[in-house]
């Protein structure tokens, strides 16, 4: 068998070709098919410039010869093959380089600014052009995680979590470029490794090395919460260290047996946390109890949840990215396992607009974009 009947279609209106079956060689690969489409487009529009395409057969990407793929997937070669093609996403080129003095621990993007946390005990606010706007300095130790809370006109609220066991809530006025530490969230007894703000921006959750999750209010007030300070602590020293008003947690969620590596809000009432104890737990914030637990076999470094496909992606130290369904009651069900990293997967993130795409970062110095199809 050397020829196949194929029909091409796409959802991208720019690259539509006529809906007629073509006879193509069965041994053709992605590059050949891409050439075919480009030829067709050139015939249609004279001004067409070459675009690389990727092809999907029944919602699965074509990565081998067409005939081989169809054989392995058990698709009949008698019928006309429906080939969907999408523009190939090419590897991005770095545009700007923002130089930090030290390792960067975390990044969080806003629509205008980028917030980075660094091992030099500071966090920085960058504009999209790569200009350092503000240095958030105040922590006595490494900044482990940063997060934007809310943007209210010119003033923004941002959070920095640090190894010095505190989370600082800052208020930043972008116009005057003035920064003020509003609250110092004390309560953790280990380094705060992960923070996440809830969708409304009124609360945030922090996960720490001390195995606890704490829910805090993210609304800045002018009153400090009452804190039981150890009596023998030198009063003077505390005064000098104090940055902003002290705030205590609204709620503490304990249950993990090892350090919490990642937290996120699945929805307004649900917090999802990943831990080094091989478990992902979903917590009900209203009741303060654990709802479900997904048990893996490896340490989880990071998780991400996509409301589009309702999947949880987790990155583990065994170099796999796993997809979970958080609604399953029994847990321990891996929907899909993505493997190609050669180091710990330290970051995963679902595409905010695409149902099937997620990006992962690993200690093998690679960032990979995945399409789960």
């Amino acid at each position: 068998m050397s020829q196949l009947q194929a029909r091409f279609f796409t959802e991208d209106q720019r690259y539509v070709v006529d809906d007629v079956p073509f006879s193509i060689p069965a041994a053709s690969e992605v590059q050949d098919l891409s050439n075919v489409i480009n030829k067709l487009l050139e015939a249609k529009h004279a001004s067409h410039s070459r675009v690389e395409f990727d092809f999907l057969v029944r919602s699965q990407f074509l990565r081998t010869q067409l005939a081989t793929h169809m054989e392995t997937e058990g698709i009949s070669t008698e019928d006309v093959v429906e080939l969907e093609y999408v523009q190939r996403i090419t590897a991005p080129e770095p545009e700007e380089c923002m130089m930090h003095d030290d390792w960067i621990s975390s990044v969080d993007g806003d629509s205008e600014w980028i917030l980075t946390g660094s091992y030099d005990k500071t966090a920085r606010v960058w504009s999209l052009e790569g200009k350092a706007l503000m240095t958030v300095a105040g922590h006595s130790d490494v900044v482990k995680d940063v997060a934007w809370v809310k943007r209210d006109g010119l003033t923004s609220l941002l959070l920095t979590a640090s190894l010095d066991q505190t989370v600082l809530l800052w208020e930043w006025n972008s116009e005057r470029n003035k920064l003020k530490a509003r609250h110092c969230c004390r309560g953790h007894t280990g380094s705060v490794d992960a923070i996440s703000t809830d969708p409304t921006g009124s609360k945030f959750c922090s996960g720490s090395w001390d195995k606890m999750l704490k829910i805090w209010s993210a609304v800045p007030t002018d009153e400090a919460d009452e804190v039981e300070e150890p009596a023998d602590r030198p009063r003077k020293k505390q005064k000098t260290q104090q940055l902003g008003l002290t705030r205590t947690p609204l709620m503490t969620l304990s249950g993990h047996n090892e350090a919490v590596s990642s937290v996120l809000w699945c929805d307004s009432e649900e917090v999802c946390s990943a831990s080094w104890d091989h478990s992902i737990r979903v917590w009900d914030v209203e009741a303060g109890v654990m709802k479900t637990m997904l048990t893996g076999s490896k340490v989880f470094n990071c998780i991400s949840y996509s409301p589009l496909c309702r999947r949880l992606a987790s990155g583990s130290t065994d170099r796999h990215i796993r997809l979970w369904d958080p609604r399953t009651k029994d847990g321990a069900l891996v929907l899909l396992s993505l493997t190609s990293h050669t180091g710990w997967v330290t970051a995963v993130k679902w595409a905010p607009s695409h149902e099937h795409q997620l990006v992962s970062g690993s200690l093998d110095n690679l960032v990979k974009l995945w399409d789960t199809r």
Partner: protein, 677 residues
């Protein structure tokens, strides 16, 4: 006139007949009718006086009826019916006596008219014939009594008279002369042989001698038999219908037409019933449900344990039934031949096929007592006693299955399979590493004279401490409430405070370090081991204490409580090889007086007060409380390099320079449980 003529005719004839000589009975009947006529006329007269108009009507009626009665004969007046009807009144009426015959005829007519009417309905001719036949019958039946002319009157009325009645002329009829008296009767009885069958007929006053046939008839009747001799009362009955299928039909009647035509009435009835069933007016008879209530499960409530017990029950062994050879008179083929007998005697009693020799006796009486009886009973009792009376459950298990399966290496994870993180920074050989009790930090000592503190999860070097010499060993204090690292550099042990922990932890470790315990008496060890506090540059780096040893320290190790640490200075010639330091009191002591060999490594037991000292060939276990050696583990290796104790305290593993690991289980023996290469 016609009426009167007609009605008068019978009377006239009657009167005419009176003159004739007729049978007495006829005459008597005539008399009767006359009497009744008189009587009735008298009654009617009385009636007439009372109800005149009615009479008039009746007369008119009579005239009409007379016309109808034209065809009727005069004889109807004498119908037996009328006679019998008036019989009962006869005696009373006669007493009334005289009567006038004036209107007798007419009254007779009126009286008899309804009777006539009823008669008319039956055939008139038929009636005439019947009348005639009756008369004949009457005549014939009365033929015997033809000589009795007195009539049917009781004879006792004339008992005392010589006559018995009167004839038509009114003359007396005399009784026949009876000249027999009692004597004659007696003589007759004596002499006449036929006397016993002589019957006196009172009516004719004659003696009749019965014939033999008549006597026979009387006898038969008396016996309750049929009068007819020839009648066979025991004649076999002929069954009209029988079980035999006959060729011919019982009746030759052809089958009815209706048997071929469906009955309309039945059809209507059936259709009514069907309709009623359809409409639900009639419920078809319900079929009784047999499944419930008819049968009972007697064993339903039986306890399953009882059943199980029964299942497990084994009945007692039965004695084999005696065979022919046990008979007192066995068949010859069961008798032993000489060879068989010889064989039987030679055999061991347990090997014998039979426990006895079959013997023949001429009779049962001569069979002697069974000599083996007691023995046989005993054997039987033994059988009953020894046989298993319960089924034993035997589980068929393959012995291979009992051995637990070796786990797959995949399931034994985590163990390092791939390189995950590289902690880069040292420029010399890294001699020793140690992990903090929380697992967050890693300390490493290197030949480049630095101690580095790493964050485990990110391989970030958090701190570098220059100690100014090749670091031989580092050890993180295992107490989670302390944050201290012991570092062996050259001939000193440094206590490092990395300040990588909670403030509380830092405070507590600070307190431990600052509590100054004055030395009470300077001991021997205190001279050899010098504790000193650091200052200046070293203090800034976090080095808090310095324990100066006389020789180069190769290893430091902490007790699990975190207060004691042991240091090793391998030396062939000295007994000062191991020191145990108490941090809180800043005291050091040498636990061993004698040199037992080159000490390679030491370790504290995690729970109990044991101290492991690994020399070149063996591991000695000392009890620190009793200050004595409890065990000596023989490692089958040439040169032990290191020792580690499991956190449970039961397992010790030793590494050696000849690439072996000796795994000891302290509960088992002093020999290695396993050798790993």
């Amino acid at each position: 006139m016609m009426v009167s003529l007609k009605t008068c005719f019978p009377r006239g004839s009657m009167e005419a007949s009176r003159g004739n000589v007729q049978s007495a009975e006829q005459r008597a009947g005539m008399k009767k009718t006359k009497k009744t006529d008189k009587k009735r006329s008298k009654q009617d007269e009385e009636d007439e006086e009372e109800d005149q108009p009615f009479d008039l009507n009746s007369k008119a009626m009579e005239e009409d009826e007379d016309d109808d009665d034209l065809s009727d004969s005069e004889d109807s007046v004498y119908s037996g019916l009328e006679d019998s009807g008036s019989d009962s009144e006869k005696e009373e009426e006669e007493e009334e006596g005289g009567s006038d015959d004036a209107d007798e005829d007419e009254q007779d007519q009126s009286e008899q008219s309804p009777v006539k009417e009823s008669k008319k309905k039956e055939g008139a001719g038929e009636e005439k014939e019947m009348k005639k036949e009756d008369e004949y019958d009457h005549d014939t039946s009365d033929e015997e009594d033809i000589r009795n002319t007195v009539g049917n009157i009781p004879m006792e009325w004339y008992k005392d008279f010589p006559h018995v009645g009167y004839n038509l002329d009114g003359k007396k009829i005399y009784k026949p002369i009876r000249n027999k008296d009692e004597l004659d009767d007696f003589l007759e009885k004596m002499e006449n042989p036929d006397y016993w069958k002589t019957v006196h007929d009172k009516k004719t006053s004659s003696d009749i001698v019965l014939s033999d046939e008549q006597i026979e008839l009387v006898n038969r009747l008396q016996r309750g038999q049929f009068g007819d001799v020839n009648f066979n009362e025991y004649e076999p009955t002929v069954e009209f219908f029988s079980k035999d299928v006959l060729i011919h039909p019982v009746t030759n009647r052809p089958a009815d037409k209706r048997s071929f035509i469906p009955s309309l009435i039945e059809k209507e009835k059936v259709s009514k019933l069907v309709h009623a069933i359809k409409m639900g007016w009639i419920k078809p008879r319900r079929v009784e449900d047999d499944s419930r209530g008819r049968f009972y499960d007697l064993w339903a409530s039986e306890n399953s344990s009882i059943l199980a017990k029964h299942k497990m029950h084994l009945p007692a062994p039965k004695i084999p039934l005696p065979g022919h050879e046990e008979s007192y008179n066995p068949p010859p083929e069961y008798m032993f031949t000489d060879e068989e007998k010889a064989l039987w005697e030679q055999q061991d009693p347990s090997d014998r096929r039979l426990p006895f020799v079959p013997k023949k006796y001429p009779s049962l009486r001569q069979v002697p007592a069974f000599s083996q009886f007691i023995h046989e009973r005993f054997e039987r009792c033994l059988d009953l006693y020894l046989c298993p009376r319960q089924r034993k459950m035997r589980v068929n298990v393959n012995p291979e299955d009992l051995i637990p399966k070796l786990p797959k290496p995949k399931d034994l994870q985590p163990f390092p399979t791939t390189q995950s993180l590289v902690y880069r920074g040292h420029s010399g050989l890294v001699r020793s590493i140690s992990v903090s009790p929380s697992g967050q930090w890693l300390v490493s000592g290197s030949d480049d004279g630095s101690v580095r503190l790493w964050e485990v999860c990110s391989s970030r070097c958090m701190k570098t401490v220059q100690v100014g010499g090749a670091v031989k060993s580092v050890a993180w204090n295992p107490n989670p409430s302390l944050c201290l690292v012991a570092v062996a550099v050259d001939s000193a042990v440094l206590i490092l405070s990395p300040a990588l922990a909670d403030k509380q932890v830092l405070l507590s470790s600070e307190r431990l370090l600052t509590t100054q315990q004055e030395e009470e008496e300077p001991s021997e060890e205190s001279q050899t081991v010098v504790w000193s506090e650091t200052d200046g540059e070293e203090l800034n780096q976090g080095i808090r204490l310095k324990i100066q040893h006389p020789k180069a320290v190769h290893q430091v190790t902490w007790h699990s409580k975190g207060d004691y640490l042991a240091s090793v200075m391998p030396d062939h010639s000295s007994h000062l090889q191991v020191f145990i330091h108490q941090l809180s009191r800043r005291r050091s002591q040498n636990p061993f007086r004698r040199n037992k060999g080159l000490v390679q490594a030491v370790s504290f037991h995690p729970i109990r007060p044991y101290f492991f000292v690994a020399t070149q060939r063996s591991v000695r276990i000392y009890n620190l409380v009793k200050q004595e050696m409890t065990k000596k583990l023989q490692a089958n290796s040439k040169w032990i390099s290191s020792i580690a104790v499991h956190s449970g305290g039961d397992h010790v593993i030793c590494g050696s320079y000849d690439c072996r690991l000796s795994w000891f289980d302290l509960d088992l023996s002093t020999k290695p449980y396993k050798m790993l290469r």
